[in-house]
């Protein structure tokens, strides 16, 4: 469960989020939508504890993020899988190594890593691409590697920050379908996007942001172009 209570985040004179409140239950699939600069990425980064809120509280699974000490942040982040717009993959690691990294940081044994990575690469359709390097993959394939890395450690929450931002509509749709598939296993998925076509396709809960404020929160929402 993720709960924002009157969360404000300012960077100097710029208010990225302004008294944002919402609650996301376990297992929900939520789109966080809005134009560029609406505060979507800031929201994702706050959940990931890359930033601390200027005001307000954020709770993840009953734990107040403000109260997590520095040395426990790594432990907290191990429960969250993240998919980035710019992929954030290791250029000189293979697909296998990139996905395995998420398990290596948890101290998993090599044979367990081997088994889990193979399973997840099969799930995202990249079994044959395991020995390839990121420079040898298409945008869609890169994002699927990122997705595989995000879910291989079986986290409770998946955060996706504009995962279809660098992809065409068809490929973006595939990625979102994968996220939906992952969500169907009980994982909470929070996806920040400005791609209205993708949002309107899936009919999931939509939290709409504009200039740092929540302007709507619809259970089966649609993205209305203004």
């Amino acid at each position: 469960m993720v709960k924002f209570e009157n969360v404000t985040k300012s960077f100097g004179t710029i208010t990225a989020l302004d008294r944002v409140s919402f609650k996301i239950e376990k297992g929900e699939f939520v789109f966080v939508i809005g134009p560029s600069g609406a505060g979507k990425s800031t929201l994702i980064k706050l959940i990931l504890k890359e930033y601390l809120p200027t005001e307000g509280t954020i709770q993840v699974d009953e734990v107040n993020l403000n109260e997590i000490p520095k040395k426990k942040i790594a432990e907290y982040r191990q429960k969250i899988g993240v998919v980035f717009q710019d992929f954030k993959l290791l250029g000189d690691g293979t697909v296998f190594e990139n996905v395995a990294l998420a398990l290596r940081v948890l101290g998993k044994k090599p044979d367990e890593i081997e088994k889990k990575v193979a399973t997840i690469l099969d799930l995202v359709g990249l079994k044959d691409r395991a020995p390839f390097f990121p420079s040898q993959l298409s945008g869609g394939e890169l994002q699927r590697v990122c997705l595989a890395r995000a879910v291989v450690a079986e986290p409770d929450i998946i955060l996706a920050d504009e995962p279809t931002g660098n992809l065409d509509l068809g490929t973006g749709r595939e990625i979102v379908e994968l996220l939906k598939k992952i969500n169907s296993t009980g994982k909470t998925v929070i996806m920040a996007t400005h791609n209205f076509e993708i949002v309107n396709l899936l009919s999931q809960r939509v939290i709409e942001l504009d200039k740092g404020k929540v302007i709507s929160d619809q259970k089966k929402g649609k993205y209305h172009l203004k």
Partner: protein, 278 residues
């Protein structure tokens, strides 16, 4: 993952130099210490006799010395015996043997005293004798050696400290550069939930590795050099058992250098990690 060999080579080189200098000074100081102890345990005055000294004059000197009660042994070395000793010491250098006859070398009295404290008095007695040309007073040798040993230790410690500090700084810079080069990878690891030590340990181990390898290489080179120079050193310091250096001592030295190398390397990389990894 790609590695940059030149930075590693630079780090190992500075560690190697640090420990090379350390070993040179440790072994030199140790060698001087052995030589010093050799002379300290053999308190001796040598009185070179004039050519015209008679056997009765020599006997009178011997009797006088015996009366002091401070003399352990008095040995007369004739000109012929002096020549034979000289030939033995320089048998590998024919140039030094040419033109040297017994007439050139003086006869001498080698006086061993009961202790270092008696050397002065015995030397003075000998100097007062008409038959004596020159007195070589061992205390001067001991004092000079003692001063040299102290100076070597001081300079050695100073240089070791200086190079140790330079090594730490160079490791800090090199590891800092590696951290900066890998900041994208580090960011990814942090976002994936890698613990601080998971991220830091490889860098600390790298510094440790540079220290250990540099120390080991320096030890190896010096040991080989020592083995190569053994015959030369032995001929130079005849009678003093400077070499061979005990293998146990060399192993202890290796152990000490490895520990020091690991400490210096780890310290440099820990400082880099603290400074550059936030």
């Amino acid at each position: 993952m790609r590695r940059t060999p030149y930075q590693a080579l630079a780090a190992i080189l500075i560690m190697f130099l640090t420990f090379l200098i350390s070993m040179v000074f440790v072994l030199t100081a140790g060698g001087f210490q052995i030589v010093l102890r050799y002379f300290e345990t053999r308190p001796q005055v040598t009185a070179f006799l004039k050519d015209e000294a008679t056997s009765s004059q020599v006997d009178a000197i011997k009797a006088k010395l015996a009366q002091t009660g401070k003399v352990k042994e008095v040995r007369y070395v004739s000109k012929e015996e002096a020549l034979s000793i000289y030939r033995e010491q320089n048998k590998n250098d024919p140039l030094l043997l040419e033109m040297v006859t017994a007439n050139i070398l003086p006869a001498s009295l080698e006086v061993s005293t009961e202790g270092l404290t008696h050397l002065n008095e015995v030397a003075q007695i000998l100097r007062d004798e008409q038959a004596v040309e020159e007195v070589i007073f061992q205390e001067d040798v001991v004092k000079t050696l003692d001063q040299w040993t102290k100076n070597i230790r001081r300079i050695g410690l100073g240089l070791m400290g200086f190079f140790g500090l330079v090594s730490i700084l160079i490791i800090l810079v090199i590891i800092g550069m590696k951290i900066t080069l890998r900041k994208d990878e580090i960011e990814i690891l942090q976002l994936l939930g890698a613990s601080r030590w998971y991220i830091r340990v490889p860098f600390v181990l790298e510094g440790l590795f540079y220290g250990a390898v540099g120390a080991f290489l320096a030890w190896g080179i010096i040991y080989l050099l020592l083995l190569y120079l053994t015959s030369f050193i032995l001929s130079f310091f005849q009678g003093i058992s400077l070499l061979p250096v005990s293998p146990i001592f060399m192993l202890i030295l290796l152990g000490t250098e490895l520990i020091a190398g690991i400490v210096i390397g780890s310290l440099g990389s820990l400082l880099a990690v603290k400074r550059y990894l936030k």
